[in-house]
């Protein structure tokens, strides 16, 4: 039996950390300082979080980050649903890159079930991952452009993204929450005539990315706002625990597709895009280069794909996945999300529902990287830095 008073004392200790009172060190103000809340409700935020900035004039002296306003309890919900019912729920963790979330979940369950999808399904899953990466980078970079006041770039990127979403919709049937992979394969095959359409769209996106790179790098007003600002050096980046384009912009070439290759990534030849300095400019360039690299990966996959079955032979049910008993064990398979490394750690106890699901989301570390970067910058840099990290708030809070 737990002592009620011990519990209350502990809860008071925990609560004191979250009270916005001037007793905390960060909240003691001099005569020249002011507390500014980039608050839970702000027109520019992609989701609710709170950054308290202590500013003096226009310079930020200190900052404190509060997250958790959008906690939905997804990990607990997944404990009460069967494995196949949990698949649409993982879609909705980060709705912009839902195919990567699905892939992480399905790969973990496949490792628990000890089955491997056939080659055609693996190629289709690679194509879907890369398409999802293209559209997520286009939207993330567009949102970042609006935070700089550059609204026209946002509209250009959204216009291109519509073509990519049309391609995805032709295969899966939905624009954002796809629920497409299944345990051992994929839901449906590529439709007729999709390949020619995809090659046209990818050629157009490749050409437009060259235009975007020129528009971003030759504009002097843009360079004044981004070069040398929001820098995270190599040591800082490893200390915070970042992955994804924010890590690669600092110069470290860690890409989950090369380090822990799953599916057919070993057969496809691609380069890992890195930057030099780890400032805002490099992060955006890494993302646009990754879009072009993804176009090249999809073209190779479309060349290498061969007709074949979608599910392995020993699987009698195919896409009609029943509520099955998964053998006990645990599995952790990392996948390269557009924002970093995502992995879903599943512990199974032999029944048809998981015992514990823990999501290692990439956006949590991206948000944690904000307070070290926000020392001695101007207020106007804060939204630019936060948007260049491109974190998805619903995945932070889950």
């Amino acid at each position: 039996m737990v002592n009620k008073h011990d519990v209350k004392k502990r809860m008071r200790q925990l609560a004191a950390d979250y009270i916005h009172e001037p007793q905390q060190e960060a909240y003691k103000l001099d005569d020249t300082e002011m507390m500014l809340h980039i608050g839970p409700q702000n027109p520019i935020q992609p989701g609710p979080f709170l950054i308290d900035l202590k500013i003096s004039g226009e310079t930020v002296r200190d900052s404190k980050l509060y997250m958790g306003y959008g906690h939905k309890g997804i990990e607990k919900i997944l404990e009460s649903l069967t494995y196949i019912q949990g698949l649409p729920i993982t879609d909705r963790m980060c709705y912009l890159s839902s195919l990567s979330n699905n892939e992480a979940y399905v790969s973990s369950v496949e490792r628990l079930l000890d089955i491997e999808p056939p080659e055609r399904s693996q190629y289709i899953r690679v194509i879907m991952q890369e398409l999802s990466r293209i559209q997520s980078h286009l939207l993330g970079t567009g949102e970042y452009a609006t935070d700089l006041g550059f609204v026209t770039m946002f509209l250009f990127m959204i216009r291109e993204r519509e073509y990519v979403l049309g391609l995805i919709e032709d295969i899966t049937g939905a624009r954002i929450t796809h629920c497409f992979p299944r345990f051992g394969g994929v839901r449906e095959d590529l439709p007729e005539g999709w390949r020619e359409k995809a090659i046209d769209v990818l050629a157009m996106i490749n050409e437009k990315c060259e235009t975007y790179k020129e528009l971003f790098s030759s504009d002097r007003t843009y360079r004044m706002r981004t070069v040398g600002i929001g820098t995270l050096t190599k040591e800082d980046v490893i200390k915070v625990g970042l992955t994804g384009p924010a890590l690669r912009a600092a110069g470290i070439d860690y890409d989950v597709r090369k380090v822990y290759p799953t599916l057919t990534y070993p057969d496809i030849d691609f380069k890992v895009q890195t930057g030099n300095n780890g400032d805002i400019f490099d992060r955006i360039m890494v993302r646009i280069n990754e879009i072009q690299e993804s176009c090249w990966i999809i073209e190779q996959a479309l060349d290498q794909i061969k007709p074949g079955p979608l599910f392995p032979d020993e699987l009698p049910y195919g896409r009609r996945t029943p509520s099955m008993r998964v053998p006990p064990g645990e599995a952790y398979v990392p996948v390269e999300d557009p924002r970093g490394e995502i992995a879903i750690y599943i512990v199974s106890d032999g029944t048809d529902k998981p015992y514990r699901v823990k999501v290692r989301g990439p956006s949590f570390a991206l948000m944690q990287g904000l307070p070290p970067m926000l020392e001695n910058v101007y207020i106007a840099d804060v939204p630019a830095i936060a948007a260049s990290m491109d974190s998805c708030n619903s995945e932070v809070d889950r």
Partner: protein, 360 residues
Amino acid sequence: MLEEQMDILLGLLYTIFGNENWWGPWIRGVVGLCAMGAIMVSAMFAVWLERKYASDIQSRIGPNRVGGRYGLLQLIADAIKLFAKEDLKPDKVDTPVWVGAPILMFGSALLMLIAIPFGAFVFNGTTYPLAVTQFDISILYLEAVSAIGIIGIFMAGWGSNNKFSVIAAFRNIARMIGYEVALGLTIVSVVIVTGSLNIVDIVEAQRSVVWFAFVMPLGFMIFGVSLIADMGRIPFDQNEAEEELIAGWGTEYSGMRFGLAYFAEYIHMVLGSCIAVLIFLGGWNMPGFLVDLNIPLIGLLPAGIFLAKWVLVMMFVILIRWALPRIRIDQVTSIGWKILFPLAMVNLVWAAMLGLVWPW
């Protein structure tokens, strides 16, 4: 014959508008109100132009429902919506300051109206500029009055009792202090070449030779940048940056108070473009390469030329807004003081040399 007809016409005009009868000043007042109404209509046109041109740049269709296929009456629908909103006054605002801010902005924008000639009317060889009054120091008056609007924005920022608004108000003052100096110096350089502060004389001086934009390109560029900073448009709109400071000085305004301030900004844009056309782009004079066509300049044709140039200048201002990102406030002040101010001094020297040789 013609002299007698002119005399009768002038006598009639004096009877209607002069001070002999009791109705003279009232009719002049009504004409003034009509001029104000015309400016508001042109500001509506400016808003429509901005929305349509922005949508063309961004591959989309702009307003297309209200008033026909091109959405010409969209602003009337917006104004009706703004009138119908609840008039919210937050609890702890400084009431006279907060209420007076949009009124001051609107009033100062309209004060510029009396000295700007909107084209000219040519009859029988003489040019009658279409201005409400002409006085000898009109360009000085225009620049002074256009700076009163800053006080309005500062009042809005201070009176709102809101941290975001105060930051926006301080940024605004910092920006304006830097760019008013450069603006003033370029206008002074034009005045040196012309030798007169009267804006009609400046336009007349450009008729014989060439527009000032071609002989003083440096001054034209400085004037252009300073004018965009003066109007508070991107890349210089830090005071109403929607990203950092929710709506800057306009955070606590809603309904028609916001509508007044918004409209005042567009009137400022309209009148600022007019000044740019008059001072640097030759006003209502025919462009040099079209003089060979020997089109007789009679009637309202100069006013038409003026309108065409004005639309082109406004389209350029709108293009700059939608094509560039916003600059940070410390970079704004550093550009204003470290780059534009020395260049304006250089331009002043150049203008002094030019003024010695300018043929009148």
